[in-house]
Symmetry: C3
Subunit: 265 residues, 3 copies
């Protein structure tokens, strides 16, 4: 399995998938830059008049609902309908779904009209979506981690998709297969956008790999390993953010094989 | 007094206030990252459908009118009404209020329907709001500094709030007490967003400290000291911006006591 | 000629032109920071209620249609009308014009109601606008370069403006005079926004120099030289992006004279 995971970065660099991202204004630049460093080609079309057309020619679609203006909501709905019609993989990042009521209205509409291949959230968001008791504060999870795996698997089965829950340990599951990833660094919580960047990378891996469970592990592991490498160079968040992009660019297949701490449940 | 100022950074790091920021798209990422480095938890909800709910659960609200789309205007009005109803401290950054007529329309509406605890602008903006002759160019102040303290005090008394005017020297006043801060570096004018970041930090200090005059000094001083520390590491603006975030993270209580150049009028 | 090109950076630093930029949310921060590093004063007013007024007081206007929300479209139309009425130079960046049908609708409206002094695009975009066969993918050109100079000259004559086409080699032409610039580094394609930043810088040079052909060469060369200087310091994209801003700040007139590889056709 880890062999399949490790090969994806080469697949992405060889095929340069076109990633259509509709994402929040806070970290939109980070998402574009990390996709470029990873070897993908980002495009952030978000106008209502453009997303149906643009999603149809994309290799994968990343939807992040962090700063959800009215036009973004409309543009997202058009994009997910297009992705369904044109069979484009979709990654959904349900930012703050448990903190703000309106987020769930939009998420429900996405599931009603589109098709989601991977849901990537923090643990609080994933448990909330799965209908489990969860704790969030603003856009952050402060969940204690009870029943985490169970919640992820239940959500994966509910929507017939892969689920990624990020946290101190990361969980990836398609409901039947489950992996726990123990790499990473606390520095990733000291910059904004680590979660968004994982989501964007997941769209790239989903474009390059049919098995979305494997794709999900590959993106989470890429971020965690790059974070560990960057942490060796600096402990301060401003510099860490810069080095993180560098280290995504420097990742090699063997890093995944040698350093990946993946437990297969 | 300086003892009270110095303690705020520890208070923020201990309590991790949730800062709701509605801000311009130019420096929204910088504002989020500097809040994280300072120890606060940023959330940039700006959709009209979300800001009333989100402001109500926040520790403080930062309003920056730099890139004021129609939806942002509406979202800001909802947020300030919510902040008033739920007693959430509000920091207003009246970007370019003297340069663009429409900005004053929105600012007047904010004062009509909301409650502002701290106004933080550059000297040109503050003097304009106070009804004094002032000089601005685009988003920058080119004011000569005549009657600066008088203008700040007058504005503070007019709106019963604390006023921060940034410039070569920074002024903080609640109309009765006034402080002049002589720290900082010219490099802060060579990057975009130094003013916005001070505003965001002010929301964090306002969340942690009841006395908004003290809170205002704490945020201005934090930015100035981090700027001085970063300047020791680099003189070029791209690198300076990165180090500035690092040095906010590295700030210690004793830095304020040892290095703060605050004159109490 | 290269003497005229080299002097522009000093002119900008002396006059600090006020650059009004309406640009995409992905790289809006980079555009503002590179303008500051170059010596200009950026202002990113993009609200429909503000752009007519703001364009009228600006030294030059930069229009980038990368993330074209409905309000941005309306704001752009108001800005270009204002620029025409007040004789403010306009630089147009026709991002993805060949990939998304709606972009051309907006571009046609800009030419109908406004006046464009410089069109700056990648080669695929420029050839598409000129009516030549071209190849793009998302926001990137993958054009082979056939008939490039001919296409640029034809477009310049069609709209009576200067045309900049970026690529492995960069072309600048006003239809009668044409220059090929062979500086630069591949690292500029590994970060997002290199093209946008050239566009923003072009607005600064267009504000400082009447001859827009010379202005176009100056901005392209500035970016390429800064890129070469940054590449000497780092090969990784995250760090490169930081150093690029530093090296724009460090550029000297003699760098243009000594290092510029400009072929005058």
């Amino acid at each position: 399995m880890i062999n399949d995971v490790s090969k994806i970065i080469t697949n992405v660099r060889t095929t340069t998938p076109l990633i259509h991202a509709i994402t929040n204004y806070v970290t939109i630049n980070d998402c574009a830059n990390i996709l470029l460093s990873y070897g993908a080609s980002p495009a952030m079309a978000e106008a209502y008049d453009e997303t149906y057309d643009f999603a149809s020619i994309s290799s994968a679609l990343y939807i992040n609902i962090g700063t959800l203006t009215k036009e973004q909501e409309q543009a997202i709905i058009m994009a997910v309908i297009s992705a369904k019609n044109y069979n484009v993989p979709v990654v959904l990042d349900p930012v703050a779904c448990g903190a703000i009521k309106r987020k769930m209205d939009v998420i429900n509409r996405i599931f009603q009209l589109g098709k989601v291949d991977i849901i990537k959230g923090n643990l609080g968001e994933i448990k909330y979506l799965a209908g489990y008791e969860s704790k969030s504060r603003g856009v952050d999870s402060i969940d204690d981690g009870n029943n985490s795996v169970e919640a992820c698997e239940s959500l994966a089965l509910k929507y017939n998709c892969t689920v990624i829950a990020t946290g101190a340990e990361d969980i990836v599951t398609d409901g039947k297969r489950t992996a726990i990833i123990k790499n990473g660094t606390k520095l990733l919580t000291l910059i904004t956008g680590a979660g968004c960047m994982v989501g964007a990378l997941t769209a790239a891996t989903a474009a390059a790999e049919k098995d979305k469970f494997i794709a999900g592990i590959a993106s989470v592991l890429a971020m965690n390993l790059a974070g560990e490498h960057a942490e060796k160079l600096t402990k301060a968040p401003g510099s860490f953010r810069v080095k993180l992009i560098d280290e995504i660019y420097n990742l090699k297949e063997e890093d995944f094989l040698k350093e990946g701490k993946v437990t297969w449940l």
